[in-house]
């Protein structure tokens, strides 16, 4: 049964700095809404593009993939070839709802572990993003991880409504 209270109002994540905990709240919010909006949809529906918008399947895959990549930067590392290769196939259609949600869970699970390992005292430390090493900070990445996940979750919910014609 759906919890009527949104994750960010369910209380702090035990033992975790409140800023880091807020990112985990966003992940939980994304998990729940992506599962709910895709419930009962076939793979064909999930990969359809109503009105030419991005497929719901892409959004589900991209939420997890982008979070993993951004968390990689937040921990001071650069992307591996494997990660950039996976990024290129995020739009590949065919995966079912169950497959997409399983992959999302694996990636968010890893991100949570990585975020739990961040020392809150390092939030202002500089970080570089991408090949050009564009400047940001650990805090900048964490905020972007959360808002990026929610932005695509919102688009996914809207796309699901278009698919259902509601």
């Amino acid at each position: 049964m759906k919890n009527p209270i949104e994750p960010w109002l369910r209380g702090p994540v035990p033992g975790l700095d409140p800023v880091l905990g807020a990112v985990l709240h966003a992940f939980q919010h994304a998990r729940e809404e992506l599962a709910e909006c895709s419930e009962g949809l076939t793979a064909e529906q999930i990969w359809s593009r109503p009105g030419g918008v991005a497929a719901l399947g892409f959004h589900i895959r991209h939420v997890g993939g982008a979070a993993e990549r951004l968390a990689t930067y937040a921990t001071g590392q650069q992307l591996s070839e494997r990660q950039t290769g996976e990024m290129r196939c995020e739009v590949d259609p065919g995966a079912s709802r169950e497959e997409l949600l399983a992959e999302l869970e694996r990636r968010l699970g890893w991100c949570e572990s990585a975020i739990r390992g961040i020392d809150p005292a390092t939030l202002a430390e500089p970080r570089g993003v991408g090949r050009k090493q564009l400047p940001t900070t650990v805090a900048g990445l964490l905020v972007h991880i959360a808002e990026h996940a929610m932005r695509h979750t919102g688009q996914a919910v809207t796309t699901a409504m278009l698919i259902r014609g509601t």
């Binding site: 895959r61 993939g65 591996s80 070839e81 494997r82 196939c89 399983a102 992959e103 694996r106």
Partner: protein, 436 residues
């Protein structure tokens, strides 16, 4: 090699484990990750744990129970706690891991190897190297691009009597070879039929399938019997048979591993069960001036040549030449020369335990530390070629016709249907890249 002589092996393992051995410094030891911890993966754990140059740093399996069992083995054999992962991508991200040893099902071999090379890790990958022909080429390209040491688990390449036999063939002991025969006679009982169920708790079925199409869970598609489904395995020709196929190529040394023609036939006889792959298969590879003739028999059979049975199995090779013949198998080799077939050479194995993978693993670790690829006795190039022949035979078998090939181009001649079977449709995000 799927059925090690386990009791004998464990006895030897126990004996070796209690022997005093030199203590190597941290920088002399290779930090290994073992990926895939089923029966063969546990053999890897057990074997590497006895090699002083190996430290089992990390373990990975999609089955939580297998992971915990292997972790307990490492604790017992090496006295420390290995890191545990369900998702190999996380293990490959771990900077502490220098090299990985891969004992996953066949359909994961290529992607694991390529990802590992991209992550800067050396790789020991079980046979067959690949699940299809395209994958073998991409594995070779990844190893070359990233300068990694990649050894395929073709253990025969580290056995002294087989190395000597192949050197004798190269020196012309039986003259010009016109036929190399591979025999893979292994009695295998029916796998029966198992119903579709929910994947048991602790098994990440989606990760197990990886590049393969999503299918409902059945116990037959999991554990050892994945070998007998085209999505994940390659039948016995690509299981036990790829060892003997490798020896066919090793002894025959054709200019190109790709033949001019391949024809394979057979069937799945006697049993009514879930198995998709044949239990009886013949394949002929035509190289113009010589041929490879390969046979798989998983049912009752008699022997052939002088090759002895080991229990209910008979595996080995026969080489036929202008001046004589050779039989070579796990228990030795013998050369017959002249019309009277007089024995001119005979040799038994130098190793006490012929199924022991440790010599092969030691060669791999030596290459890892020396950075000298000459220590790789079973290169990815050779492993890829041997696997490719198994795949070509399976394509011919599945299409039910003799196929012509263009060896220089590495594809079939004017046959788009067959060409399509040189690769597979991958399930995102588990895609073997076109561009390495």
């Amino acid at each position: 090699m799927q059925h090690s002589h386990r009791r004998q092996f464990l006895q030897t393992a126990a004996a070796v484990a209690t022997q005093a051995r030199p203590i190597l410094g941290a920088n002399d030891r290779v930090n290994l990750g073992i990926i895939g911890l089923g029966g063969r993966g546990r053999d890897h754990v057990n074997s590497y744990a006895q090699l002083p140059e190996a430290r089992l740093a990390a373990l990975c399996d999609v089955n939580q129970e297998a992971l915990e069992r292997a972790a307990a083995m490492v604790q017992k054999l090496q006295g420390h706690k290995a890191k545990e992962f369900a998702d190999m991508r996380r293990l490959l991200d771990d900077k502490e891991v220098d090299a990985v040893s891969v004992a996953t099902p066949n359909h994961w071999h290529a992607l694991t190897t390529i990802w590992a090379c991209q992550a800067g890790k050396d790789v020991y990958v079980e046979k067959p190297a690949s699940h299809n022909v395209f994958e073998g080429r991409q594995m070779v390209a990844a190893a070359r691009k990233h300068g990694r040491m990649v050894q395929v688990g073709s253990q025969s390449r580290s056995l002294f009597h087989k190395i000597k036999a192949m050197k004798l063939l190269e020196a012309g002991v039986i003259g010009k070879i016109y036929q190399a025969r591979g025999l893979c006679y292994r009695w295998r009982k029916s796998i029966g039929k198992t119903p579709v169920t929910e994947a048991p708790p602790g098994i990440q079925w989606d990760l197990f399938l990886g590049p393969a199409p999503m299918r409902p869970f059945t116990i037959n598609r999991f554990a050892y019997n994945w070998h007998w489904f085209w999505d994940t395995g390659n039948g016995d020709i690509g299981n036990q048979g790829v060892h003997e196929m490798d020896i066919c190529l090793w002894g025959l040394r054709p200019k190109s591993a790709f033949p001019r023609h391949v024809a394979s036939t057979g069937g799945k006889f006697l049993w009514d069960d879930d198995q998709e792959t044949p239990n009886t298969q013949q394949a002929v590879f035509d190289y113009g001036d010589a041929q490879i003739v390969f046979e798989v028999r998983n049912l009752q059979t008699l022997g052939e040549g002088g090759i002895p049975f080991g229990g209910s199995s008979l595996v080995g090779n026969l080489f036929l030449g202008s001046e004589g013949c050779m039989e070579v198998h796990p228990y030795g080799f013998k050369v017959y020369r002249g019309e009277k077939r007089e024995v001119s050479h005979e040799e038994k194995p130098a190793e006490d335990v012929i199924w022991d993978p440790r010599p092969h693993m030691k060669n791999f670790l030596r290459a890892v530390t020396s950075r000298d690829p000459r220590h790789l006795t079973a290169s990815i190039e050779a492993g890829s070629d041997a696997a490719a022949l198994c795949h070509l035979a399976n394509i011919s078998y599945r299409l039910g016709r003799r196929l012509a090939l263009d060896p220089a181009a590495g594809r079939f001649t004017g046959d788009s249907e067959a060409d399509a079977m040189l690769t597979r449709r991958y399930r995102a995000p588990y895609i073997v890249p076109e561009k390495i």
